[in-house]
Chain length 328, copies 2
């Protein structure tokens, strides 16, 4: 099934089930007012949400204006982000002469970022009005879980993957080397993220969801110029289930945990890049005289993923950069 959220009355919005063609929807306050409520009691409420979805696909519901959708999960209790595409890490670190994290191919690299608030798909990317922050997007595919028990195996964790979506992991590249060197992870480097408007259950992806990896054509553009057209399933070192099991090794994960696998990157260079840092790193390694710029005021980032039939699965993240004076 497909889920989204409408704005208000509170910061978490109202859960809405939408039909397969994203033309009609049903609000479901009698089942779960907010998506978080549904995740808190997923095994109880999912069958009832699926019934609403079946009704919608038989013509029930009301016309929707998907431009009104906010982030489907407007506040997440946890955002864990892996860096599970070797191409992304290796190209970028090679270009700046930095070493790769110890054992990155055997042991997942995961940091904890901020999950609240989650920007909506059309929210501006608001950044401090300062030079040299090196603002970037990262095209990510995310999963959302209900409660994952402490010490769950990958097989167990996979059963807790309830929803799949897209995320723009907004990044300030200027802070990454310093923050990594200090060892405590990414605070200044990783501001708020944006979610694509639609979440889908794994079954909705059909054959494109295999062994907790998703395939498709993930298109990234800046100001209408293609930066990448990537397959998120092609070169992923760890499945989402393996990443979850890693994260749950010493603690349970709360319902509503959002897990990403990092900026999507393919070994096939014809596919382009899932962020500007990787594009610039490739240009550096190729000896380019001028690098593609990082994002600037007014730049527009669009991210969307298409299935084998060319249909957009999650809707579009479409954000424009806006600067704001700050005191700090």
């Amino acid at each position: 099934m497909k889920l989204a959220s409408l704005p208000g009355p509170g910061p978490d919005g109202r859960l809405i089930v939408i039909d397969r063609t994203v033309t009609r929807g049903l609000e479901v306050p009698h089942i779960a007012a907010r998506l978080q409520d549904a995740l808190d009691t997923w095994t109880d409420v999912a069958p009832r949400l699926e019934e609403a979805y079946a009704d919608l696909n038989e013509g029930a519901g009301f016309p929707i204006d998907s431009s009104q959708f906010i982030a489907p999960l407007p506040r997440a209790y946890q955002f864990l982000d892996g860096s599970a595409y070797s191409e992304h890490m290796s190209v970028i670190r090679q270009a700046r002469g930095a070493k790769l994290p110890d054992g990155y191919a055997e042991v997942p690299v995961i940091y904890q970022g901020t999950g609240a608030p989650m920007m909506g798909p059309r929210d501006p990317i608001i950044v401090p009005d300062k030079e040299g922050l090196d603002l970037d997007f990262e095209a990510e595919l995310i999963v959302i879980t209900d409660a994952v028990p402490l010490g769950a195996s990958a097989r167990q964790a996979e059963r807790h993957i309830r929803l799949i979506g897209l995320l723009n992991d907004v990044s300030f590249r200027a802070f990454v080397p310093t923050e990594v060197a200090r060892g405590m992870g990414l605070i200044h480097s990783k501001p708020l993220n944006a979610m694509a408007p639609i979440l889908v259950t794994p079954d909705e992806l059909g054959a494109a969801w295999v062994n907790a990896k998703a395939s498709g054509r993930y298109k990234c553009e800046v100001n209408g110029v293609r930066i990448g057209e990537l397959d998120p399933g092609a070169d992923l070192m760890f499945s989402y289930a393996e990443l979850l099991a890693y994260a749950a090794r010493t603690r349970p994960l709360a319902a509503g945990t959002v897990l990403g696998a990092g900026a999507i990157a393919n070994k096939d260079r014809a596919n382009g890049c899932g962020c500007l840092a990787e594009l610039r790193a490739r240009q550096t390694l190729e000896g380019a005289a001028v690098l593609s710029p990082y994002l600037r005021e007014g730049d527009r980032v669009t991210l969307a993923m298409y299935d084998a039939a060319g249909r957009s699965v999650f809707g579009t993240i479409d954000q424009t950069v806006v600067t704001q004076p700050t005191l700090n």
Copy 2:
């Protein structure tokens, strides 16, 4: 005023205002059902909660059983933890021959930990049944904010400190060196945390809250043996306002952000330690033949802070270690 939460019906419990002597309370569903709801609209609801508090102190309300209290904020959208006591970092790193983070005395060191679920004050510390995890407590004082704007100055951020409390930042020391070396922060090292039962507004601390630092006598015991009796305000390198401003430099902070300043440590060694790692590090540096052990099955940790008159301000964190077999 003083706030706490009672269990159920949902995972966030029910907000209760309690009187100054922690003997009577008033549930306030007509004002805010959950503490998160109050934080979401703090400037609107706080005056009404203060009215309830005033009524309680004049004899209104019902007798309470404080042993029923769960974590006052059972799920936090963000837990940011500084390492702002130089004594803690320097002693521990010196003992294991590791260097201090670059510029730690000028630029705050902060990582993002897990804020959901927050363990209640009497919940067991459930850990995987494995050898060599080096389980430790960390005695911390925390602040909770409403929404802090992007780029807030320390002075602005201070106005968003709405509540103060205590936290046991449970840690697996065995993973820290590896996770710090990888640069991406602490995942396995930092499982779930526990909160003391009572949160108070800054005014409640009176003269013990000055320039966004809290003073008092923070007592830490393991199995009834004193590990430390620390003053959290004495040797704090950055105020809570400065730490918040640092965290908000590139992003706004969601209402319900919990910020710690790390394991409390004093330069006066007579005060003891706020965690076992520091105690062991001191023993190592003093050439002790046998070190105090890390926490083991059945060990009991109690943390509480007392004001100048010897009254417990936040209630007691009282947890016992329980191991659990896991598959991962």
